[in-house]
Structures are given as C-alpha cells and as structure tokens.
C-alpha cells in the first residue's frame, strides 16, 4: 500500500513541479516576443491559471507525503542512521521543514494570484512563487535521491 502511495505521491509531485516551474519562469523570465520556440512558449504561459492547481497539488502531495513519511521513519531513516548517511538524513530533515514552511505561505500565495492581479503586489507574488518553486524542486530532488539510496521494495 505504501508503495502505491509513494508512486502516486511522486506522480503528483511531477505535476506540481511542472506547474510551479511554468509559473515561476513565466513570472521571472516572461517572454517579450511572440512565442515561437519551445523555450519561449514555456515562458509565455498564462501564469494566473496555474495558481489554484498549484495550491491543490501542493496540499494533496503534502498529505500523501505525510502518510508515506510514517513508513519512511520506521523503514528508511533507521537504516540511513545505521549506515552513517548523515548528509542524506540532513537533506531529508530540510525537506520536511521546507514542506511545512511552504504550507504556511499557501494562503498568501493564493491571495496574491487572484485575478485581477494587483500590480502593486507583483514583487510579493513573484517572491512567493519563487519560494514555492524552490521548495517543490528541493523536495522533489531529495525525495528522488532518498528513494534511490534505500532502493525500491528493499
């Protein structure tokens, strides 16, 4: 059951990663010319339309991650400690704390992405998007690496 949850958690994380990356890139590196190339099309998405999906995906991914975490605590972390993999444990500790901090910024993130967008709060909106993008990327990569360290089904 935990394997299924872990896979669903990973798939939702991929969707979240795609959405937040699109939004962050379109905010920080907006395309000024008509989208012709793949990169320019990537940068010229309507960022506003991603906000609600990002909030929902973040919440659902976090809930699934919290469920999987209980198994991780018993099955994986103990082994990492026995193997003296302190850096690996450390990056996971950061993952759990960053995920928690990210939950706290969601109401503000959601509010500042409501339409019509307020020009006055463009910097706040961009910063909140960048924080969430950083957290999602960090958590995705750390989760992926940890899964590789312990090994699937071991």
């Amino acid at each position: 059951m935990f394997t299924v949850l872990l896979i669903v958690h990973g798939l939702l994380a991929v969707a979240l990663l795609g959405a937040i990356t699109h939004q962050a890139v379109s905010v920080w590196l907006p395309a000024r010319k008509p989208a012709g190339t793949f990169v320019r099309r990537f940068r010229s998405v309507p960022a506003t339309s991603y906000a609600n999906a990002i909030v929902v995906l973040y919440l659902v991914t976090a809930v699934l991650g919290a469920i999987v975490y209980t198994e991780y605590r018993v099955v994986v972390r103990v082994v990492l400690e026995q193997l003296d993999l302190w850096k690996t444990n450390g990056v996971f500790e950061l993952k759990e704390h960053f995920a928690a901090v990210g939950l706290g910024v969601l109401p503000a993130y959601w509010y500042y992405w409501r339409t019509p967008l307020s020009g006055e709060h463009a910097r706040t909106r961009a910063a909140l998007t960048a924080i969430l993008a950083f957290i999602v990327w960090w958590n995705f990569l750390v989760g992926h690496v940890l899964n590789n360290v312990r090994g699937f089904g071991s």
Binding site: E71, R73, L94, H97, A108, Y112, T124, A130, I131
Partner: protein, 112 residues
Amino acid sequence: MTVTRSFPVFAVVFAAAYAIAYVICVEKNYALVTYHPAIYEWGLGVQKAKDGPAMYWFGWMATSGIGAGVIALAASWLPERLARRLWSGWSWAVPVAVMLVFCYLLRGYFLR
C-alpha cells in the same frame, strides 16, 4: 470566489507567524500530538518513543497552525489604516529567513 477585506492581512500575518511558530515548535519541541509509526498510535502532546521512533512533525505543524491562526485572526481585526501599512513582503521574507535558520540549525548533519 470572494474574500473578505481583511483576508490579505490574515494571509500575510499567517505566513510570517506560522514560519516563526514552526521553528520555535521544532526547537522547543512543542508538539500538539505525537505519532508512533511502528505501532500506528497517536498520542496527545509530546510523548517519549515507545516500540520504535516517535514523530513530532505533525504535532509541530498543528501547534504552529493553531498559534499562527489565532495571531492572524487577531491581526485581521486591526483598523484599516494600520492594516494598510502592513508590508505584504513579510509573507515571503519571514519564511525565507526561517528556511535559512533551519539550514543553520541542521548544519551538524553536513559537518560530521
């Protein structure tokens, strides 16, 4: 979806207060609940590990969420002239600072 006029104040104060409350809860171990994953058991408050490790993460988030919620609700009753002075950037500046604090607090994992 319509939101009340005080919601931005609530959201900004919540983001900042939650981040601060969370780091304090982690450091002082103010967990509202403890989970014992090896025996699938929940307990109220901070409990010692029994038959396996104890998880306080859920409890830290619960304590911080309630604390920050109360603070943010109180702030959302501020008179409008004061509320208008609230810098929206606190909603990201404080969480970023708290994330850096965690990097510092957890440095021991990387310096062994």
